[in-house]
Symmetry: C2
Subunit: 202 residues, 2 copies
C-alpha cells in the first residue's frame, strides 16, 4: 500500500475529527464534546487532535464551516438537475424544507443552545452562523431561480429557510416526515409565483 502523503494524511485526520465532533455533539451535546472525547471517537491521538484544534471552540467552528460547505456543495450539485420555470417549485421546496433534519442539524442545535448561555462560544459562533445563514440564503435564491429585486421575494426566501429550521425542531423528538411532506406540497404552491423568474421561463 502506498504511503499517504503527509498533507493528505493531515487533511484526513482533520476531517475524521470534524465528523466525530458532529456525532459527539448530536449524542452528548456541547458539555460532553471535548477535544479528548472527539479524538478518542475519531481514533486520533489526543496530541494530534490538539495540534489541529487547540480548543474545542476551534474544533466546533471548523466543524460548523465544514457542515455548511458540505451542505451548500450538495445543494449546488442538485441545482443542475432541476426542471426550469414553475415546475421546479416542488423539488426545491422539498430540498429546502428537508434541509435541517437529521444528525447534522441536531449537532448544530446543541451548539446554538449552548451558545445562548455561553459568551465565549457565542462570540465565535454568532458571526459564523450569520455567514452560514447568508450562504444558505444565496443558494436558496439560486435554486428557486428567484428575482430578489422584486418586492417580497427576499422575505419569501427568508421565510422558506426559517420554516425549514422550524421543521427541523419539530422533527427533533419524533419523526415528523409525513406532516412535513404535506407542508412541502403546500409550500411549493406558495413558491410558484417567484420561481424561475430570472431565466424568464414559465
Amino acid at each position: 500500500m502506498a504511503r499517504e502523503p503527509r498533507q493528505e494524511r493531515s487533511r484526513t485526520t482533520r476531517r475524521r475529527l470534524m465528523e466525530a465532533a458532529v456525532d459527539c455533539l448530536a449524542e452528548l451535546g456541547w458539555t460532553g464534546t471535548t477535544v479528548g472525547v472527539v479524538a478518542e471517537r475519531a481514533g486520533v491521538s489526543r496530541g494530534a487532535a490538539q495540534h489541529h484544534f487547540p480548543t474545542r471552540e476551534d474544533l466546533v467552528v471548523a466543524t460548523v464551516e465544514f457542515l455548511a460547505e458540505e451542505q451548500i456543495a450538495e445543494l449546488r450539485e442538485r441545482a443542475g438537475t432541476l426542471p426550469p420555470g414553475r415546475r421546479r417549485a416542488e423539488p426545491v421546496a422539498r430540498l429546502l424544507l428537508n434541509l435541517y433534519t437529521g444528525t447534522k442539524f441536531r449537532a448544530a442545535l446543541h451548539l446554538w443552545v449552548a451558545a445562548s448561555t455561553d459568551d465565549a462560544l457565542r462570540a465565535v459562533l454568532g458571526p459564523l452562523e450569520a455567514k452560514v445563514g447568508r450562504e444558505a440564503h444565496r443558494v436558496a435564491v439560486d435554486l428557486l431561480d428567484a428575482d430578489e429585486s422584486r418586492p417580497g421575494v427576499r422575505e419569501t426566501v427568508q421565510a422558506t429557510l426559517d420554516l425549514a429550521r422550524g421543521l427541523g425542531l419539530a422533527d427533533l423528538l419524533s419523526d415528523d416526515s409525513r406532516r412535513r411532506q404535506r407542508l412541502v406540497r403546500q409550500w411549493a404552491r406558495m413558491l410558484e409565483p417567484i420561481v424561475g423568474e430570472r431565466s424568464g421561463t414559465e
Copy 2:
C-alpha cells in the same frame, strides 16, 4: 397581615418553583436544572420543593404545561381585540411570529434539545409537546378565524407555527426582531386569503 390559606400558599410555592425552573433552564440548561438549584432560586426549602416535584422530570413537565397554559390564555385574551375579516391578518401574523422569542422559548429549547439525547426526558416530554402543539394550532386557527375544511388552510396554519419556531431559533444568538418584523408584513399578505373566513366578513 392575614395568613395565607394553606391551599393558596401551596399554589404560590408551586408557581414560584415553576417560574424559577424557567429561569434556570434558560440560563443553565437541563444539566444545571436540578430540583435543589430551582428550590434555592425560588427561596423554597428543598423538602417543600420535593413534596411538590419529587423528580426534575415532574418539575419540567409541570413547567412546560404552565408555560403553554399561560401563553394560550394570553393569546385568547388578545383574540377579543382583533379587527374582523382581512384586517386581522397583520396583527395575528405579528402575535404568532413573535410567539417563540424570549426566555420561555429558550427554556423550552434547552429541554427539547436535552430530550433528543435523553430517553427518560423524551418519554415524558414527547407526548406533552404533541399536546401543546395541538393547542397552539387550535388557538392559531381561532385567531385567524380560518376555515380548516378548505384545502391547504390547515397546512398554512401549521407552516405559520413552524415558521414562528424557526424565527425563535434565529433570535437565539442575536436580536433578529427587525428582520422578523419585515417577515411579519410579508406573512400577513400570505395569510390574507385565509383569515376571517368562518365569520364570513371581508
